[in-house]
């Protein structure tokens, strides 16, 4: 029975997206809250029943997987879905009461775009058909272009540039799928794996591999193709970048993992792509570069975006080490990083809710004015730096461990360098937040209770994932 129910995780946000524009504004608002709650409980329910019996496949339309389209539910997919749905729920709780101020008449359409974005993220995680993956990719891309374009004047330019680069990336991915399809004929990941297993892989599979990697690196915003990312998430409205920034890059990174390792085995990738360590060096260079930039930023959001870009290079670097331990570190980092970046963005949203801007010069003495929010932001920053009890430390620990085992010392050093840069950034930030014109601020007016609840939840999730990282790692590997 639970196998049949599991498709609801895609259907509920879908029906929500369709119904929202038909309803009145506040009904739609609270319906979207209910929808996000439903998805979270459903994801937890499916995950709990996967825990005791093995992963299962869902054939859409009742056709076997080589004929129809199939979804694949396994442990890590569901953990990622739980993280996504909790981010969706927390964003809704945080922003719902003042959505109508931000969006006014566009509210219901925004809600359905948001629901479609999350539906496509769930689809991307679960689908086992590489062309279906392309269609989900297009839905998530199109909804992110529209959501980014909700911002002020500059958001249109950012959205158009993101559109062009995103479509080129998706089409390159489609071309890669075309080469695979021409050589092996089927579109399902597991069918492909059974065909590819005992075959010597020629030039065209190498080309398809490179094209898929190029396409997904473009979608992920890895170092050479990252121009669109800072602008897109900076000029889009805060309520959009809060849920989109942590998720969209992580999902495309997860796609890289799913498609490449679903179809080919590690040894096949290694001999197909001998210079795979090039990507590790590329990631090291980009981590050093973004680490250096993150100090010179004068706005909280820009600083967090530099950290986000550095975290993406952690992912590519630890993926391309292609060893067992570094791949499980890669998947753990996906989970912990989306939570950390989400916590950071929620704190910035709370600060901008009261303080209207997150430039350093406007943040004087905010520690006194909003003690709870700044404390949460400092905790999120400490987790990004890698303080032990929180998940940032464990994800860095596992990645560096994987890197050292494979003698990639420079990559490990770059991770430490970037956390050192973050320490220096906090070194710069602490006096501004806590001590400058401390006397002038009399009362401390903090964010309303629901925002405090969301902040507390996101920080507790960091501690939770940190403390139970051991059992999480056993689940993942």
């Amino acid at each position: 029975m639970p196998e049949r129910i599991s498709i609801l995780i895609i259907l509920i946000p879908f029906i929500g997206a369709l119904l929202f524009p038909l309803l009145k504004h506040n009904i739609a608002k609270y319906l979207s809250l209910i929808v996000s709650m439903l998805i979270l409980f459903l994801a937890i329910f499916i995950f709990s029943n996967i825990l005791n019996n093995n992963p299962f496949e869902y054939n859409l339309g009742g056709w076997k997987r080589d004929v129809g389209v199939a979804f694949w539910f396994n442990k890590f997919n569901l953990i990622f879905c739980i993280v996504l749905s909790s981010i969706y729920l927390l964003t809704q709780i945080f922003f719902i009461p003042h959505y109508h101020i931000i969006y006014g008449k566009k509210l219901t359409k925004f809600l359905s775009l948001q629901a479609l974005f999350f539906m496509s993220c769930f689809g991307l995680i679960l689908t086992a058909d590489i062309f279906n993956l392309y269609v989900f990719l297009e839905i998530s891309a199109l909804s992110s272009y529209a959501l980014i374009a909700l911002g002020k004047g500059r958001a249109y330019v950012a959205s158009l540039r993101y559109l062009i680069l995103g479509s080129v990336g998706a089409s390159l991915y489609l071309l890669g799928v075309g080469f695979l399809f021409a050589k092996f004929g089927t579109l399902n990941i597991f069918e492909l794996q059974s065909i590819v297993q005992n075959q010597v892989l020629g030039r065209s599979t190498f080309v398809s591999l490179v094209l898929i990697i190029l396409g997904l690196l473009l979608k992920m915003g890895q170092f050479p193709f990252y121009i669109w990312l800072p602008e897109a998430y900076e000029h889009s409205p805060t309520s959009v970048s809060t849920f989109m920034a942590p998720i969209s890059t992580k999902v495309s990174a997860f796609l890289l993992f799913k498609v490449l390792l679903g179809v080919f085995s590690i040894s096949q990738i290694k001999n197909l792509l001998p210079e795979s360590t090039f990507f590790v060096h590329l990631a090291t260079v980009s981590i050093f570069y973004f680490g250096a930039i993150s100090i010179r930023q004068n706005c909280l959001k820009k600083m967090l975006l530099c950290v986000l870009l550095a975290e993406i290079s952690y992912l590519t670097g630890s993926f391309w080490i292609l060893s067992k331990s570094s791949l499980s570190a890669f998947s753990f980092h996906i989970i912990s990083d989306s939570l950390m970046i989400f916590a950071g963005f929620v704190c910035i949203a709370a600060i901008e809710y009261l303080n209207k801007s997150s430039q350093f010069k406007d943040l004087k003495g905010i520690g006194r004015k909003m003690p709870f929010t700044t404390m949460c932001f400092i905790l999120a920053l400490l987790s990004l730096i890698g303080l032990p009890p929180m998940c940032g430390f464990f994800s860095k620990f596992y990645i560096i461990l994987g890197a050292f085992k494979e003698q990639h010392f420079l990559f490990g050093a770059s991770l430490l360098f970037s956390s050192l840069m973050l320490v220096i950034a906090t070194y710069k930030l602490i006096p501004i937040l806590f001590f400058e014109d401390y006397k002038k601020i009399a009362s401390s007016r903090d964010v309303p209770l629901r925002m405090k609840f969301v902040l507390a939840c996101s920080i507790l999730s960091l501690f939770f994932v940190g403390i139970f990282s051991g059992s999480l790692m056993k689940l993942i590997s």
Partner: protein, 474 residues
């Protein structure tokens, strides 16, 4: 099972003070009760060994606690001085009518919690967790006064220790784990057979300088900076808890994780370690001579005494190690007396510099006599605790066949006398324009702790056989 109780007490104190933040004096009350119950619990346990593992992060790197003789001694030291410092800081803060007293005590309790966590950790991983927690929890204490100078030194403190721990300690930890696959303490043979030679040297150096809290020479700048904190903080934390935690970690890593036998076939490398620590001893005591600020001078003397302890560890001989652990205890008592006296002087006369202390001895006889006892303890004069530990250190250096280190120990004590005794002489000089009677003895709350710690530093000399017997059995 008991070691978890010891650690939980300061945590409970922290939570209670946090909850009752608004209630006046609640912080002091909870801290006193907490420290007393901790002391009682430690003594009632008669050093029974027990281990417990709570959460399993990695195959064998879990959050686990274990008690050993040395950790018991260290914990009792910290607990006792915690009690004494709380009484002292009640007097200190009350006279300066500090409004944020409860916040002060709250962070005090959490720092003690992390110090005890390090003391009782049973593997390198837990020790690193609490080591980091200690850094974060002491930062608000260092920048307690919220003025620009406190903030800049507080920031420097965090940057130095957090930066060095991330850049040196974390990679060393991970390298060790990637080679030996375990972070448990007693894995000397594992290290011996699968850590390549030059990697072993790098790991040792990383650990040596990674523990920036032990204030080795290039990484010592944060300690004088942290003196800007209120005196009880610099007394307990920067004379006892924080720096001793750094040295404690060094002791655990060098003795248990890396193991003495791995160093025997590296004579050249042992000399390098000895040179580094002896440079710290000599150089910091020379700097201490021309420091005019009283607390700055005491800070540099702490650095040089820590150099003693590290030198004791690095000599890799049993008696030197015993001497080092004894020196931890005796130096703690005498140094905390000195800091208490400095605090008392500041409370009464708001004077920070030694040159201004002319003629104060007659006005504050008790404070300065205890100051004399404390400085004698530091110098290692007979009838004080310092003598015992220095005696063992000297015996250890001869046993390890390092006559040069023997002379350095003696030279160090001699220079210590050079920068501590002049303070007494200036205090007891005649000072013509110093008649006003307003200067009276320090408040009673400050005096009691000073007397207690001074007498304790003398008492160690007389009942040292108990300490030596407990420490020798490792």
């Amino acid at each position: 099972m008991f070691c978890v109780y010891y650690i939980l007490i300061p945590l409970i104190v922290f939570l209670l003070t946090f909850v009752m933040l608004k209630v006046k004096y609640s912080g002091a009350f909870f801290n006193i009760v907490g420290s007393l119950s901790l002391i009682f619990l430690l003594f009632s346990s008669q050093f029974k060994l027990s281990t417990i593992s709570i959460i399993e992060f990695l195959p064998n790197a879990s959050l686990a606690f274990a008690t050993s003789n040395f950790s018991f001694i260290f914990a009792t030291l910290v607990a006792f001085l915690w009690f004494v410092t709380v009484i002292y800081s009640m007097g200190y803060l009350r006279t300066l009518d500090d409004k944020k007293e409860n916040k002060f005590f709250m962070f005090f309790a959490i720092s003690i919690f992390s110090a005890l966590g390090v003391a009782f950790s049973s593997n390198l991983f837990t020790m690193y967790l609490f080591y980091e927690l200690l850094t974060i929890s002491t930062f608000p204490l260092v920048s307690h006064y919220q003025d620009s100078q406190a903030v800049s030194s507080g920031r420097k403190y965090v940057l130095f220790i957090l930066g060095s721990s991330i850049c040196l300690l974390l990679p060393a930890l991970i390298l060790l784990y990637s080679f030996t696959g375990t972070l448990e303490f007693d894995q000397a043979q594992l290290v011996a057979n699968n850590v390549p030679r030059q990697m072993f040297l790098i790991i040792v150096l990383m650990f040596l300088f990674g523990f920036a809290k032990s204030a080795l020479m290039p990484f010592h700048f944060w300690l004088p900076g942290a003196m800007v904190a209120p005196t009880p903080v610099s007394a307990l934390l920067h004379a006892v808890a924080v720096v001793k935690v750094g040295v404690f970690c060094l002791y655990k890593v060098f003795y248990h994780t890396l193991g003495f036998e791995n160093f025997y076939h590296l004579p050249y490398f042992k000399n390098v370690l000895i040179i580094i620590s002896s440079v710290t001893v000599i150089l910091s005591s020379i700097i201490a001579i021309n420091q005019d600020g009283l607390k700055k001078r005491l800070a540099y003397s702490t650095i040089s005494q820590l150099g003693y302890i590290i030198l004791g560890i690095v000599l890799f001989s049993q008696t030197a190690l015993l001497g080092a652990s004894l020196h931890i205890v005796s130096h703690a008592f005498s140094k905390i007396t000195l800091f208490f006296c400095a605090g008392a002087i500041y409370v009464v006369t708001h004077k920070k510099y030694i040159s201004e202390l002319k003629g104060l001895g007659y006005k504050m006889p008790i404070t300065f006599s205890c100051f004399l006892i404390g400085s004698l303890g530091i110098i290692g004069f007979p009838f004080t605790g310092g003598f015992i530990s220095k005696w063992q250190l000297l015996k250890g250096s001869l046993e390890a066949g390092q006559p040069l280190v023997f002379c350095i120990f003696l030279l160090g004590s001699f220079i210590a006398a050079l920068y501590l005794l002049p303070v007494i002489f200036t205090a007891y000089q005649k000072n013509p324009n110093f008649e006003e009677a307003s200067i009276s003895e320090a408040p009673i709350y400050c005096l009691i702790p000073i007397i207690i710690t001074a007498s304790m530093s003398i008492m160690i000399f007389f009942c040292n056989d108990f300490l030596i017997e407990v420490l020798r059995v490792k």
